[in-house]
């Protein structure tokens, strides 16, 4: 009997001890931007630096640019540099992680500027995981006094990529139309700038109307529409040389041009006798192909990221809607079925989504939908806004807005805006003049 009790209780005891592993589902957290500290960079051996280089104050400017980029993305919260405890030179070699954790940073960026034996400027940065207490990324780049902005953008992209798993979008440019003058006599010029607004340059003089400029994949060429000699046509512009040439030899208005993802073709609309159809032209051979033959308005074509499909705007159903067809023009299918009018479809470089403009009950919306038309999401609403363009990582949309104008000259101003795919982080982009028709380039460093 005793034996029985012994075995019984020992069994009980052991079953008691071996509990199943406690598993807890963590399904919530906070969606706050990641707290980051961007330390001032430090100059190794300042005596080697020329006066001109020292005057640029790159040890401050570079981290400043990086901070601004990361802050603008909406994904990072940059902790005020005034609260940083550790000095830049030590931070770069062996940071005291407690000091950084104390100010609530979860990641820290440190950097160094060196003049090497060949008198070249080397910029080095390190990304630290403050909580884990280790370095998680580092890079050295050669820079010149004129390229330090691009270096900062490249570093920003590296940090962004490491922390989000996605490619960045900071080393890019934006082409747009700079507007001045009264509403009835608008002067429009092509303008190009860095994604953060720096290095703004005008590419045309404003003697003729210019509209809807877009980059080619290498960001060396622009295609746009111009009323040069009062003949509205699609043109090609070489940014480097400034040379412009008309695209094709069309006996009528061509407009709404875009490059194919491989840069070999330009796709556009050609209007004749009241009917607009979509055509493509091979840039090298100049061979033209007609892609739609419907007697309705077919315009705003945009290739998918792999070049296999084209999304476009057509009113063949009686009102403006979005369609998708194969890149040879076959199998056109309507994909927009919500209430209102749809226009300016543009395919995401990530391939999954199509952004568009929607007009409903007197309001304009920027939205996205999947390429089969499902999952329509509206991101922002306004009195007037249109023409979204994707950042190269498919995460941010840039578009433009116009305000109402009254009897006086007040109002009627246009400006560029950006918004995250999630609907967060709506921002106005500062430009020197009024601006419209923005388009984003691909990553300059590929």
């Amino acid at each position: 009997m005793k034996k029985f009790y012994l075995t019984f209780f020992s069994i009980l005891f052991f079953t008691q001890a071996s509990f199943a592993l406690v598993k807890i589902d963590i399904t919530r957290g906070n969606l706050e931007p990641l707290p980051a500290a961007i330390s001032k960079f430090y100059m190794e051996d300042p005596s080697k630096f020329s006066a001109e280089l020292k005057a640029l104050k790159l040890e401050k400017k570079i981290p400043e640019l990086i901070s601004n980029n990361l802050k603008r993305s909406g994904l990072f919260h940059i902790i005020d540099p005034k609260s940083y405890i550790q000095s830049p030179n030590i931070a770069h070699v062996k940071p005291t992680f407690q000091d950084w954790a104390l100010i609530k940073a979860q990641i820290m960026v440190s950097g160094k500027l060196v003049i090497d034996s060949k008198k070249r400027l080397r910029v080095e940065f390190r990304l630290w995981d403050v909580i884990a207490g280790k370095e998680i990324e580092g890079l050295a780049l050669f820079a010149t006094p004129s390229s330090w902005r691009r270096i900062s953008h490249i570093i920003s992209d590296k940090i962004y990529e490491r922390m989000t798993g996605e490619l960045g979008y900071f080393d890019t440019r934006i082409i747009y139309v700079a507007e001045t003058g009264s509403k009835t006599q608008r002067v429009k010029r092509l303008a190009i700038m860095d994604q953060d607004g720096a290095n703004n340059k005008y590419l045309t003089l404003g003697n003729e109307l210019v509209l809807t400029p877009r980059f080619n994949p290498t960001a060396q060429m622009i295609t746009y529409m111009s009323y040069f000699k009062n003949l509205p046509r699609v043109y090609l512009l070489n940014i480097e040389t400034g040379m412009q040439e008309v695209v094709g030899d069309f006996p009528g208005m061509t407009f709404a041009p875009r490059f194919s993802p491989d840069g070999k073709k330009i796709i556009m609309s050609f209007a004749k006798d009241g009917n607009s159809d979509i055509y493509s032209m091979d840039v090298a051979t100049r061979v033209v192909e007609q892609l739609t033959t419907h007697p309705s308005i077919d315009t705003s074509p945009s290739y998918s990221f792999d070049g296999k499909y084209i999304t476009f705007n057509s009113d063949r159903s009686g009102a403006q809607q979005i369609y998708v067809m194969r890149s040879d023009g076959s199998n056109a299918k309507r994909i927009s079925f919500g209430e209102g009018l749809y226009g300016t479809p543009v395919w995401s470089p990530r391939g999954d989504l199509i952004a568009f403009t929607k007009i409903y009950k007197g309001s304009f919306y920027i939205g996205v939908m999947r390429s089969d038309g499902s999952g329509e999401r509206l991101l922002t609403q306004n009195y007037y806004q249109e023409a979204p363009s994707w950042s190269p990582n498919g995460r941010v949309l840039i578009f433009y807005r116009e305000t109402k104008s009254g009897k006086s000259e007040i109002g009627g101003s246009s400006s560029l805006w950006s918004i995250d795919l999630t609907g967060y982080n709506e921002r106005k982009i500062k430009t020197l003049t009024d601006a419209s028709d923005p388009a984003w380039s691909g990553l300059l460093s590929k």
Binding site: A17, F19, A20, L21, V22, K23, I24, D25, I26, T27, R28, G29, N30, L31, E32, P33, L34, P35, G74, L75, Q106, D129, I131, A132, I136, M163, T164, G165, E166, E339, G340, Y360, K361, S363, Y365, R377, L378, L379, T380, Q381, R395, D420, L421, T422, G423, Y424, E426
Partner: protein, 271 residues
């Protein structure tokens, strides 16, 4: 237009007159006598009376009391600041419905508080396996419909908290979750339709400090194309580190010294 109005009035008058006239027709209908059916009156005895089984009655009373109890919260819920998430701009006529839906999307603190007060999502009955088994034999009909409680309202009745095979109580689990929620900075913009489940196994000391943390599927982090997984795993590791030491229950160390946390950001990313 006037033509139709006058026509309408005319017909209305005609109809009224017609009904007045026809009513007497109905009235004057002779009533045919129904056939008589013989009825035997049977005495209802004790056997056929169907009261609630005593135990069932007990439970029903208790549930009624519980219902009243829940209206009073144990603590006043702190100010809830819902996160303004402009996920989707609703079309004008759908605005109202959407704003209600938006309110339901809650941030971690909000969820926690809702657990402590009665909400319309709450299932009202308590699931108590002991009492049910006692019931099954005794009464054949009219057992109160008792459904299993899905949410974590048991925090109000810590005595009768249910051990659901975990080794820790739901309320204890809740407390651990709440800590991790605060520490976890979810990387924004991750795709929510991929499988991004990060499982971390921890061993703890009795004071709740972490002796070791290990990512299961560690190898996945460095595979090509698994960039998002790596980012999420690192964020989970940071969360665990930030929360070290965890506030754990004072008893039952053997039960919770090995912990596995399953980080799943799907709900939060979906928005």
């Amino acid at each position: 237009m006037y033509k139709s109005v006058s026509l309408s009035v005319l017909f209305h008058v005609v109809f009224v007159i017609a009904t007045i006239v026809s009513l007497p027709f109905v009235k004057k209908e002779p009533i045919t006598a129904q056939q008589l059916i013989a009825i035997d009156i049977i005495q209802i005895s004790e056997k056929t009376q169907l009261p609630f089984a005593p135990k069932a009655r007990e439970i029903i009373e208790k549930i009624k009391k519980e219902k009243e109890k829940r209206v009073v919260t144990k603590q006043a819920p702190p100010k809830i600041t819902p996160k303004e998430k402009p996920k989707a701009i609703p079309l004008p006529d759908k605005l109202k419905i959407k704003s209600e839906e938006e309110k339901k999307k809650q941030n971690p603190e909000e969820i926690k508080e809702l657990n402590r007060q009665s909400s319309e999502f709450e299932k009202k009955e308590l699931f108590d396996p002991n009492k049910i088994s006692a019931l099954i034999d005794k009464s054949k009909e009219e057992t109160a419909e008792i459904q299993k409680k899905q949410s974590l309202e048991l925090t109000q009745n810590q005595d009768s908290s249910v051990d659901l095979n975990k080794g820790i109580t739901l309320s204890q689990e809740d407390a651990i979750k709440a800590q991790i929620y605060k520490c976890w900075n979810i990387p924004l913009g991750l795709p929510f339709d991929q499988n991004l489940l990060v499982r971390i196994r921890l061993t703890l000391r009795p004071n709740g400090s972490i002796t070791s943390s290990e990512i299961l599927d560690h190898a996945r982090m460095n595979q090509p194309g698994q960039g998002f997984y790596k980012v999420l795993a690192e964020s989970a590791l940071r969360a665990v580190k930030l929360c070290d030491p965890l506030k754990m229950p004072t008893t039952g160390y053997e039960k919770w010294k090995d912990l596995q946390l399953n980080f799943d950001a799907k709900e939060m990313l979906k928005g």
